[in-house]
Subunit: 221 residues, 2 copies
Amino acid sequence: MGVVERREREKERKRNTMLDAAESILMDRGLEHLSMDDVAEKAEVSKGSLYLYFQNKNDLVLGICYRATHLLNESFRKVLDSNLSGLSLVRELGETYLHYVKNHPQYYSSMKFLDNLHSTREGTDSEYLQLCTQNRQEGFRLMVEAIQRGMDDGSIKQELPAEQLALLFWSTSHGVVTISYMHQNYEHFKLLDRIGMKEEDMFDAYMHILSHGFAQQTHES
Amino acid sequence: MGVVERREREKERKRNTMLDAAESILMDRGLEHLSMDDVAEKAEVSKGSLYLYFQNKNDLVLGICYRATHLLNESFRKVLDSNLSGLSLVRELGETYLHYVKNHPQYYSSMKFLDNLHSTREGTDSEYLQLCTQNRQEGFRLMVEAIQRGMDDGSIKQELPAEQLALLFWSTSHGVVTISYMHQNYEHFKLLDRIGMKEEDMFDAYMHILSHGFAQQTHES
DNA sequence: TCAATAAATGACCGGTAGTCATTTTATGAC
DNA sequence: GTCATAAAATGACTACCGGTCATTTATTGA
């Protein structure tokens, strides 16, 4: 009776111990130097045990990615708690995303890993893939909500459905954040320096362009 | 005398043969299933020979990436040849990028590989890394040129330096193109479908937002 | 013809993801 | 407590892959 339950709890606890070990290695050495042998050693279990709790390495990394996406969503939710205008909320979400990448680059790398998971074949049966996808959907939903609020309070145009505008904000901010990540983490990426743009200014400029456009207004507008 | 020259030409020819083999495997099986053994077999040389012509696997992939960036730049140059307004040129560049990703997804994956090359350590001494970086700079330069033309002909606002605006267009279009790539190539990526947006419409919406902004204009504007 | 040099080879190494036969541990009936 | 059964854990092993290097083969020019 209670035995099965206790076993289940214990299993979850062990799973988290393993994830802790994996995360610790990720933070120290980066995703590309994360090996299953090292995780097993760090978690003080055998390699075989690792595969009792995770289907494969993908699954393990997605386990970390689940934590990563969850943390990002929590930050997003805090933004949505405020009473700012919808437009300001959108800006805050973007800045939150940017800060997240700056403060948790290794978590972000696990999200890039999720983005690069190719065919469904590679991880179809991973529960964590489902959870990560759910988290990403939730993050997107929060963006939609911010935009919808902006449309309601009159700070954002209603030319497009909120979902579609959210997709554009999502994807474009993804691009900007990627540039920022590369600037932070890749020593050979010097584009910002070359054009004499500071990282902080980039986001301001991005939000300005996204808010007001870069096309010269024609008179009949 | 002529012997050294001939040797040099012959060496270049062989290098290209190996790149052809690698590219063929890339197109057939994708970057993640590209092994040096297979390339050697396909190119009908020994594995050791491969390492006489390329420093390591990174170098080889960057060799393909060089071709990839070169091809993209050629497409960009064709756009710049036209007499469209600067604003239209920018749109055309974006559409060109989008079509490129759709038509050459494996080339694009090699460019993603370039983007993900971490420290300088991993490929500092690769000639191809230099060449790829040069190509990317050239692509960026073409974007700057289009925007500069738009500022000159009055179709694009002059609020920001052309280079900075180009960076924003570069990064945001990168984000949009990434979404498109995922929609095309990852079966588990269903975001576009879920919000009922067609891929073709996404780019139009993107250019519209980027041109005119999504913020409701205030009256004192 | 013959050194000397350049080019090519493939057996081999180290590391890593993943497997599985075997061992160890936990459980519950008696 | 004993024991049979089932669950959990183990680590030696395989397959594969990137990269190396001592050896072999081909080329050159005297």
